[in-house]
Amino acid sequence: MPAEGDEVQDPLVIAEREFGSRLLVGTGKYDSFETMRDAVLASRCELVTVAVRRIDLDAGGEDITSFLPVNVLLLPNTSGAETAEEAIRVARLARAGGLPDWIKLEVIPDARYLLPDPVETLKAAAALVEDGFTVLPYVLPDPVLAAKLEEVGCATVMPLASPIGSGRGLKLRDSIRIVIEQANVPVVVDAGLGSPSHAAEAMEMGADAVLVNTAIARARDPVAMAHAFRLAVEAGREAFLAGVMGEGDAEASSPPVGVIPGA
């Protein structure tokens, strides 16, 4: 969040909270917490996801939160949950223990393609909203499902661009376009964005934000890549507001009259 008195232009607003950045970053898959921290800083993101896992009491290990900037809001996810019930359990555990009552809702029964369960996700979303959570559900870009999630009170919808970690980009762009057109809550494109141009394209289409993890963490230079994504998200957003030209036929950039050879 920006410093007091420093008004952000065109902020991302989720559940009435303002964010100065439209890039959300996941913390998974980095070689070290130090690199993760530097990438988060370079990205200027203000909302980062974390998973919730049992502590391995023999192994110890460091606390990830100590590597995260203080101005960043932690967004726990329900990864690992295969049913609504399991997702609710994780969310409640996270909140009880002092994490924010914001939850990235993932209900994923399929270990191969990591695609979410629409029915269980909807069920969990309704229960979590009822229980006071700010719910950001991860879903296929299914416009009808998105409307139902909105209806039960979700704060965003988070349609996937392509399977998690695949880096394949906006393979489902036709559906995402419809989700964006019909949504009344912010649309955060999540999963599958493999490069800054993918993120820029999502923003140009009118997405309100994007969430990126693997593409940054698995770059040769994650910190530079985080910065590149930051620029691309800003570029895409600015282009969306500036009005992207439509596709058309060929049209000369130089004037047809007064050409020299035509003398």
């Binding site: 996941g26 913390t27 998974g28 898959k29 980095y30 917490f33 993760m36 996801t49 974390v50 998973a51 919730v52 896992r53 049992r54 502590i55 391995d56 009491l57 110890g60 606390d63 990830i64 939160t65 100590s66 932690l74 726990p76 996810n77 990864s79 359990r89 409640r92 555990l93 996270a94 909140r95 009880a96 223990g97 002092g98 994490l99 998690i164 970690g165 969430l211 993890n213 693997t214």
Partner: protein
């Protein structure tokens, strides 16, 4: 014989009147976010100091980790 609870699948001998807070201290988890579930129900952080563990309790101690 001591009371014993199960923490993340392993036996843990309880001290008399051991609270969640004490448990975490004994596990070396004072700082940071330690999330605690007792018998399938989450324990509120504000109650770590009061809630006492009982013989046979199934405890999960979790925390935020790297994830996307």
């Amino acid at each position: 014989m001591n009371a014993v609870c199960i923490v993340n699948g392993k036996d843990h001998s309880l001290e008399a009147g051991e609270t969640v807070e004490r448990l975490l201290a004994r596990l070396g988890l004072e700082g940071g976010y330690a999330l605690v579930e007792r018998n399938g129900e989450p324990v509120e952080r504000s109650e770590y100091r009061e809630v006492e563990l009982r013989d046979g309790d199934r405890i999960i101690v979790a925390r935020p980790v790297a994830g996307g």
